[in-house]
Amino acid sequence: TTRSWDFMGFPIVSERTPLESDIIVGMLDTGIWPESQSFDDQGFGPPPAKWKGICQSPTNFTCNNKIIGARYYNGYHFLLPGEILSPRDSEGHGTHTASTAAGRQVVGANLGGLAEGTARGGVPSARIAVYKICWAFGCADANILAAFDDAIADGVDIISLSVGGPFLLDYFEDSIAIGAFHAMKNGILTSNSAGNIGPALGSIENYSPWSLTVAASTIDRRFVSNVNLGDGRTFEGSAINTFDLGPRMHPMIYAGDAPNTSAGYNGNQSRYCFSGSLDEKLVRGKIVLCDSPRIGAVRAGALGAILQTSFPYIKDLAFVVPVPITLVEMQDGGNITLYIKNTSQPMGNILKSQEEKDPRAPFVIFFSSRGPNRITPSILKPDLTAPGVDILAAWSPISPPTGSPEDTRSVTYNIISGTSMSCPHATGAAAYVKSFHQSWSPAAIKSALMTTAYPMDPRVNPDTEFAYGAGHINPRAAVKPGLVYDADEGDYVRMLCGQGYNATTLRLLTGDNSTCTSSNNGTVYDLNYPSFALAAASGTPFSVIFHRTVTNVGLPNSTYTGSFGLLGSSEVGLRVTPRVLSFQSVGQKMSFTLTLQGQITVRMPTIFLTWDDGVHKVRSPIVVYPS
């Protein structure tokens, strides 16, 4: 976060409202490290009056005026070594996400001197309520639901949940979707991570229409840990390597030349650096070149290791390493191998990481789960993208930054990647919007974030909207979206009718006499969603009408004109009716239809519907793809 918020045009000095300190962000995660500077409560007043939660503090855990609530849910599971039966975070993940969403400003935050800057959450003045649901065994559905049950009743404003599973579940057999549904009913938006099993299409793990699904993209900061050779050449390596081996060169050896023969290994085996395959006497104190990304050389006493990898995304993200290690591409590894083989006393060094500017940013990282939504193909998922690659945020000092037993460091800030990291950025942005518009519904906040998102470049994101949804979050613009696509519980119920849910189930969900009738059946296309998706049978002509209603939240007298932005040529006919929406008051609603006609065999190029009043651009992606 020392770079991510600035990168998206949300500087430290941004417009704030005093009501930000009334916002309560509910973090469902691994707990929190309350002594972190990011959660210092100096300057904070008592919790807002609406707060009804508790601080569950068995031993050695206390809340403050920043962390106003904390609970833990262990179910009936045994603790593993190192785990703590309290809201205290022994893992680090929950501390990281909480500080990203709502941590206060901490000047000079860094990991071993890297990524140094002012760490901060999206809403530094907001309060945090912690619900520890995840343990070493994972995050049980029973715990997730218990946390939603409490958080909604406690009075949180936004819920952030960066977990999931590779299960394709009906919405009401999915604990996260169920919890988010009841949160929505109570005016609380749930921000969810999209999942980390991309880039396969259809790999989204959280896809309910009432939650905000967040993909992960890069920022313009990347870490390199280069290799210097004795002959003066330098090769780029990828790692977040905080270790400095000094200015002098160190002896090098190829792992294939150091087999542990006494254990029965030969050079063809030791070159991959499996643990135990290397001769400790030959590698001790040297830099070892390995033919695979394994850390057996370091376990054998090497000073450091250069790991060759054919992993195609090596330049897209870097991992914190527990010892002096860097990853190099196979071609560079081949050149380093030749140097070692052809030099009588090969020497080299692995340099401490440096930060470089990445001109390709932002692009959606390979691991971020992709759409389409396999449960409701006509609801585009993910909804948007946010920074989730190499993010520095607060950490639990009892958890090694790499989780590796070789790692003896204790750090208060760490750099990690995942849609877990992008989700709390969106949570923070949603909380920021809510701080200005406390009466807005979850759908309105979500709409504001989606329709004001920065466009992403499809040339570096071949999966386009299935990777980034509406685009990259832009918190400052989201506060003034102009128009919002609002929706309430009734709108989602109508959508569920179209999805085939019967009246009996819907009445249980809503607690009222909701029913599916001929007028509200088959209306998935008509959910007032801020994006448009159509899964069309390949080669079959279609004609589909989407109904939408926009609410004016901008200037009282404003006239919006609808237009289509098209990147590439399209076989699909588009019509918006009416093309002009004239508002006379704030809060006024106007409806329009979007008609799509045509026939496709491949995915339609990116198209946007934009409503423009000269001040605001309210942009929604339109995605038509073969079902």
Binding site: T30, F137, I152, A153, V163, T505
Partner: protein, 85 residues
């Protein structure tokens, strides 16, 4: 078979709060009694009672099927474990 008698943790999801009911826990317990009998209190693990209705219970396969057919039940699904992202 032994596996059919083995109890596993399930979530019984019942949707919105039960209107006019003073104690969700007693409703959940009563449902468990009907399905599990005298061991209901032993196998009813947790009640959701503030923001929606449902409970966590240890059930056999047969009990799970019976429970899923009961009035007021939206779904019964296993207590799966998710992972951090």
């Amino acid at each position: 078979s032994a596996s059919a008698l083995e109890r596993k943790e399930y979530i019984v999801y019942m949707g919105e709060h039960l209107k006019g009911v003073t104690s969700a826990e007693s409703v959940h317990f009563s449902m468990m009694e009907q399905v599990v009998g005298s061991a209901a209190s032993e196998h009813l693990l947790h009640s959701y009672k503030y923001s929606f209705s449902g409970f966590v219970a240890r059930l056999t396969d047969e009990e799970m099927k019976t429970m899923s057919r009961m009035e007021g039940v939206v779904s019964v699904f296993p207590n799966r474990h998710r992972k951090l992202h």
